[in-house]
Symmetry: C2
């Protein structure tokens, strides 16, 4: 007993050290909503949704549902942690034959290195909706800025980011995405991100990393049919440039009827913001299935007619990208004829980026 | 009644016409095993398996299992059908966070057009193991040659191809893949095809289409650790060129121990066949996780040492491709740091193809 009493101060000290060491290594979680959120059209009532419930209410049902998926939203933070963990809660389990689970329900982490965003690692969803994972470990402890992309085809109700117990985490002092410069992309599943391997490979995300501007993903899979409610909403979303990549889903008749009033309405409310119109990529299976091929030809003819009419009427700051310029000529850029793989997304980003740059170069900077 | 009797011949004729028209449009199915099968190392007891049960028996358990998956196997046929349907039976339901269902369990159809293989469409797996689908319709009725790739990460016990009732289907008169010229690729999940969007985008398949040679996929996910049993088997597979892309999975120690005897053994049994050694791609998350990065560096150092030893000993027809040449420098070619997307697969095919061509150009043609 005397021996024990003699050794007590040493034992207490050892316990303290062990506890401190354990606490240092035990991860500490912060709510992602306390960090910087980019890729959002506007502030929303539920933080990881793309469109606010009030803004959603007049929209078609499919858009209402898809607007709650987190495509294009990302969390920016800086930390000196040597590891990054995440806990996230998905709206539901998703099964898509042309998407990876990492793409539709996972996370994608980048780090700013020498002024460039570089891929780090991914969060892989398992079964169920509660997910928890070490994304990366064993890093050095220098202060780094990270960007974490959220799922493309699922919604999230909660997200926590875990760091080393003693590390710091906060909003970046100098964000690697400049939220005062904004490109807003309205379109179909191709914009939403089918079939990117991981969330950061949807083309709006690639454009965001390459330009350092905030690029807003308003891609609605199977939808984006230029309904008047969407024109009304789009005009309220602050932008330095609008990209309209919304030709894949409406029928040729719908494009003939809707595209002219849609663009006119946007132009009236945003008189000097550049608008880039993108033809639909030529569905690769439409080179074999003559019915599909004919529909695609008619879709692009219809939007071209609208573009020419608007130009003839003297509309300024209007740009047009043809189908033939988008995804190369080897027919290998899609997973299923229409949805782009990472190969297709790199190609379409290469095609659209110079047009956006040209459009922006011609305009003075806005203040949002 | 008289009226009916009077009209009977007309009614019979109408029924015949309707029946004939219906029969013409009702699809007719043929067993794919009666057509031309490419991408097989050797003949096997079960037609859609990569390795025969007797050859498999001495192999490690993981390889035994993976060798039953159909990666790299494709069916060649010619038909004048305006539509192509498939019915296929999978071994089981697969869930992989880094693969699309089309990639792991689907089908991928190409057509030979002006001497080039061009993507047509895919077969999408649903739930369950029995799958049935229209792959493409509304084609013209000219005679065309097709290649149908089988699933990358699943096995198949049955496959039927459906054509228009009156159309013809047979083995191609002049196959677009020359089975007398063979490249055999032994490797990891990257060779097997993780994470190609669809089966035809695994890099052995890309090489097969680009060269018109038969390219055999001996990729074994998480395996390919250069066990002696694999060296023994590989030497029995006829080849004009062996590609060894088997560095990602063995530890640096295993590479130091096994790579020299593995390549020596293959060379002894195949004294003049070119061997192309490929370093592992640098795991992109290893640029952040220092432990992973150090392991990859040691893996590549170990295989480089073996290569230099073999060269110093005078081994001929040995080629080496460094990690830095494989997938570009933008860090965007993988889904999760190690597994290539279609973007990565195009890049690695671009890197490996010229080395294979150089290796083959230096050798006289073999007869298999």
């Amino acid at each position: 007993m005397n021996q024990f009493i003699k050794r007590l101060p040493f034992i207490v000290m050892l316990c303290c050290c062990l506890h401190s060491s354990f606490a240092q290594h035990e991860p500490r979680y912060v709510d992602a909503s306390s960090l910087l959120i980019v890729g959002k059209a506007k502030t929303t009532d539920s933080v990881y949704r793309r469109i606010d419930s009030i803004d959603r209410s007049p929209m078609p049902d499919a858009v209402k549902r898809l607007a709650q998926q987190s495509a294009g939203i990302a969390i920016l933070f800086e930390t000196n942690s040597t590891s990054i963990r995440t806990q996230w809660k998905l709206d539901g389990e998703v099964h898509m034959s042309n998407m990876t689970p990492i793409g539709h329900s996972g996370l994608d982490l980048y780090c700013l290195k020498d002024g460039q965003w570089q891929f780090v690692s991914v969060g892989r969803p398992g079964t169920g909706t509660q997910q928890s994972q070490l994304i990366v470990g064993n890093m050095d402890s220098s202060l780094k800025q990270f960007m974490l992309y959220l799922p493309l085809y699922n919604g999230m109700s909660a997200l926590q980011i875990g760091i080393d117990g003693q590390a710091t985490i906060q909003k970046p002092a100098k964000p690697g995405i400049n939220q005062s410069r904004r490109v807003v992309v309205y379109g179909s599943s191709v914009v939403q991100g089918a079939s990117a391997g991981r969330p950061g490979m949807a083309y709006p995300a690639i454009l965001q990393r390459r330009t350092g501007m905030d690029v807003i993903n308003l891609g609605f899979s199977g939808s984006a049919k230029m309904e008047p409610e969407l024109a009304t909403y789009l005009a309220t979303v602050p932008a330095d440039c609008y990209v309209l990549d919304c030709i894949p889903n409406p029928s040729p008749e719908q494009i003939r009827e809707r595209s002219y009033p849609f663009i006119k309405s946007l132009r009236e409310k945003q008189p000097s913001t550049p608008i880039v119109i993108v033809e639909t990529i030529f569905r690769q299976n439409g080179l074999w299935d003559r019915k599909i091929g004919e529909t695609v030809r008619q879709q692009n003819e219809a939007i071209k007619t609208t573009y020419e009419r608007l130009k003839a009427e003297g509309m300024k700051d209007l740009y047009y990208i043809q189908s033939s310029q988008l995804i190369g000529e080897d027919h290998e850029a899609t997973i299923d004829g229409i949805h782009l793989t990472d190969l297709g997304f790199m190609r379409i980003a290469d095609a659209i980026l110079p047009v956006i740059k040209k459009a922006l170069a011609a305009k003075p900077k806005k203040t949002h």
